[in-house]
């Protein structure tokens, strides 16, 4: 990590600069990100609840089985995440032991009240959904989930009524659907248009931008929050970018790493509610949370980032 004093000074100065031009920015959430002491937030459209722009994914990284050392390391990552103002942690029954490791971390850090617990239902037939959800809740050891999503649309016709009934009964706050890597987008659009869902989770990053065409505009139109998964293409994108020097213009959006540039590109899209990078390292989670602070790229800078990365 860079020098903390330098980072603080830069954050303060950038905050002043951002405040001066806040009225020119198209995204209110971005302005909040620059002036607030915590991470920038964006409102969940269906409720107005503010959610930090950067969450924490658990795919692969938190699936460490019974390894006590690795479990504690994941707990350290969660501690740093919460200390930096993070809230949303996303997991799934598909991710092996990740749910149990999240539960271990929540207990270790005493963060059950703070976490925005986002999990998924991933089972067929749909009749097995309630049992799986209850098993997941016990692994997390939370009183209830904030968000449950139908993972990869598996048996969504059966699961959505269950989730909506849970929400109506007050046993769940938000309902969503997920996909990844551009799969089944037409079906995603149909569900977004016809079903009263609160969240949609899709893959979105500086190279995978298909969702900009239809899904992100539809999400704004329908008032659906968007979670961006695979922000780093499972790390491949960052490994590729790190072969190149960070451009000088990254400082204009208060980024000191490629990871922050990649994340700011995602969360600066006005339809995106948050991105969920996954990591096993405390320094990386701090770096990722840094992407929710400081100046955000406006349209011209977003184009510049996309063109620069595409040309590398």
């Amino acid at each position: 990590m860079p020098n903390d004093r330098a980072t603080t000074r830069r954050t303060f100065l950038s905050g002043l600069a951002a405040a001066a031009i806040a009225s020119l920015w198209p995204m209110r959430a971005s302005a909040q990100a620059a002036s607030a002491p915590g991470p920038g937030t964006r409102a969940i459209p269906s409720s107005g609840e503010a959610l930090p722009l950067v969450g924490l994914g658990t795919w692969i990284t938190f699936n460490v089985g019974d390894d006590a050392v690795a479990r504690d390391a994941c707990g350290d990552v969660m501690q740093a995440f919460f200390a930096a103002g993070g809230r949303m942690i996303d997991s799934s029954p598909m991710y092996g032991s990740s749910q149990a490791v999240v539960g271990h971390g929540l207990a270790k850090t005493g963060s059950t009240a703070r976490v925005f617990a986002a999990d998924k239902v991933w089972v067929a037939p749909g009749a097995r959904g309630p049992a799986q959800i209850e098993a997941s809740r016990r692994l997390w050891n939370v009183p209830r989930f904030d968000l449950l999503q139908v993972h990869n649309l598996l048996a969504w016709q059966e699961h959505l009524p269950t989730l909506l009934a849970m929400k109506a009964a007050g046993r769940l706050r938000y309902v969503g659907i997920t996909t990844s890597e551009g799969r089944r987008h037409r079906e995603i659009e149909q569900i977004m248009a016809a079903q009263p869902i609160d969240f949609v989770q899709v893959s979105y990053n500086v190279l995978d931008r298909d969702v900009e065409q239809r899904i992100l505009p539809l999400a704004r139109e329908r008032g659906i929050a968007v979670i961006a998964n695979r922000p780093f293409r499972q790390g491949d994108l960052i490994r590729q970018l790190q072969r190149h020097r960070l451009p000088a213009w990254a400082a204009e959006i208060d980024c000191d790493s490629w990871a922050q540039v990649a994340l700011k590109f995602i969360v600066s899209h006005p339809a995106v509610t948050c991105a969920i990078p996954a990591t096993t390292r405390v320094d990386h989670v701090r770096q990722n949370m840094g992407a929710a602070r400081g100046r955000m790229p406006e349209a011209a800078m977003r184009q510049r980032i996309a063109a620069h990365v595409a040309a590398l």
Partner: protein, 239 residues
Amino acid sequence: MSEWWTYRPSDFLLFSARTYYRLFEIHNAALWPAQAAAIGLSAVLLWLAVRGGRGAARGALAIVAAGWLCSAGPYFWARYATINWTAVWFAAAFALEGALLLGLASSRACPALPARAPGSRLGARRAVGAALLIAGIAYPVAAPLLGRPWTQAEMFGLTPDPTAIGTLGLLLLLEAGRERRLPGWLRAAWLGALWTIPVVWCLITGMTLWTLHAPEAIIAPAAAALALLATRLRHPPTA
């Protein structure tokens, strides 16, 4: 699975390389000092392969069967399943292979290991078989050779990859013989399953390691390919 053609092997990866190798470290610590027994039985297995005969074949098959059962239970069922929910299926397949090997070892149709007279030709098929058997037993050295600690070594008889590779070697060494007395369908099913499970596992583990960017990813698939090619070769006449 809709749009199945869009999926890549990495889409099915559930864990990191670090977690995968730590699994062997934890497994070795939990089983200690079973490694000493595994090394001792590996030495006995090599001696039986050199000695030859039907009794030696029965003993060798039983030792290898124990390795498959140890991989099925303590490794797949109790360890690997903590990070991969498909491990229960692998446990079942490994238990089946162990049972098939034990069945072959105890049956009247058990083939013999060739008793080679001094100066006689080893033959290409047996040479490949011997090489794979030794490769399976020597597999633990792959860990330090590839820069990992000994504590993460994968032991023959205790973990799946070396056990599968060594088994393919043993199957190549066995002579065709009494199993011909079995009905054709039974012989085909039995021998087919005996070969299919280790070959398929070699492909699965190769794919897993490839998605983890592990340098040893080529070893098990190459061993399986070599074994399948060697099955096309005939045993030289025994002395």
